[in-house]
Symmetry: C2
Subunit: 234 residues, 2 copies
Amino acid sequence: MLKYQQVANQIELYIEQHQLQQGTKLPVLESLMDEFSASKSTIIKALDLLEKKGLIFQVRGSGIFVRRKSRMGYINLLSNQGFKKDLEEFDITSEMLQLDVVKPTQEVADNLQIDYDQGVYYVKRIRYINGQTLCVEESYYDKSVVTYLNKQIVTESIFHYVTEGLGLNIGFSEMYIKTGKLTEEEANYLHLKQGDPKLVMESIFFLSNGKPFDFSKVTYNYEQSQFFLLGSGI
Amino acid sequence: MLKYQQVANQIELYIEQHQLQQGTKLPVLESLMDEFSASKSTIIKALDLLEKKGLIFQVRGSGIFVRRKSRMGYINLLSNQGFKKDLEEFDITSEMLQLDVVKPTQEVADNLQIDYDQGVYYVKRIRYINGQTLCVEESYYDKSVVTYLNKQIVTESIFHYVTEGLGLNIGFSEMYIKTGKLTEEEANYLHLKQGDPKLVMESIFFLSNGKPFDFSKVTYNYEQSQFFLLGSGI
């Protein structure tokens, strides 16, 4: 972990432990530099990270302020850390339905920017929240990047394995969201009725060098799924 | 517009006009400083803005690269510029159903962080895309911030008016997304059937000083609504 990430984590911990409220002003840059024995550029990078995560906002010429805590029980659309982090207070489990090395379809090859004859890991899982179905998930991993997967990794956290086990840096992601009606097969997996609402999220995750390595399609149980998103002022 | 925003706009225009493809390397920092007669810190801020907007990605020690253009016809969840910018190729219109000054409900007062006896503008609109219903929208504006609205503003773009007309700086936003089934009233507005799927998005927009000024609830026609989101590697 880089110095600025450590500093960001320490400031985040401080806000949580002291239960600082929306609008509370944080110390000025110079005080933070002293506090964390860090350079100005390190503090600025740490604050930018916290702003991206929606924990603070910076007002030019006025200071750095704590941002209101978001509603509980919602999944952060921009978190690359999976559900577990957002839904800590809930019991999230996974059931693996399939794990295979397959040839990609055209859609998968296009999204992963690979050739048709390259192998991909295909993973199908159902996720549960407090014993209720949360979503059914189909993921495709470029096997030249994610070189190995097994049942235990897939049942636990693939993203934890990718970053910690394989040491890869996740750079950015694209997400596409649609709503529609459940097919019979999807309804069976989710214990709902055919024609009930569904939210479908397609995600592509890229390494920090720009290589896409994960293309996922997730179909959510409409009764369980709530999402949130913190935007900056672009 | 600040210098770094101008530089960012010029780089964005350059990428569009030259139709640069995903992975194309941009000139190094020093060349950009020369090109735009700008300081290092201005170029860095411009690049950070472009990265946030999902137009480029930066690889440490390697360079700055163009990011793939996202799928067409999807609405950017993180754009504060309304639909029009994302759906330029479509014909988007608004029909105003109601414009009133009202007392806020508890939910509205909580989200706008105001007292119950403060007035808010209540705006109800239907949006159309190519003549089909896109969404029905209920918005509440803190009247102490958005001091004036009329039918023409509401039918055109409220956000354009808020930033250009009132000169306010939009700082950040929170969005909450749920799916469910349409009520009879919602179905009538959207020309769909009661019980059909819906996507409901609640948004709170804040000024750059942290003051919330707009709380909106938008119910989307599931047949028309597609959203995308570009994430950075937090």
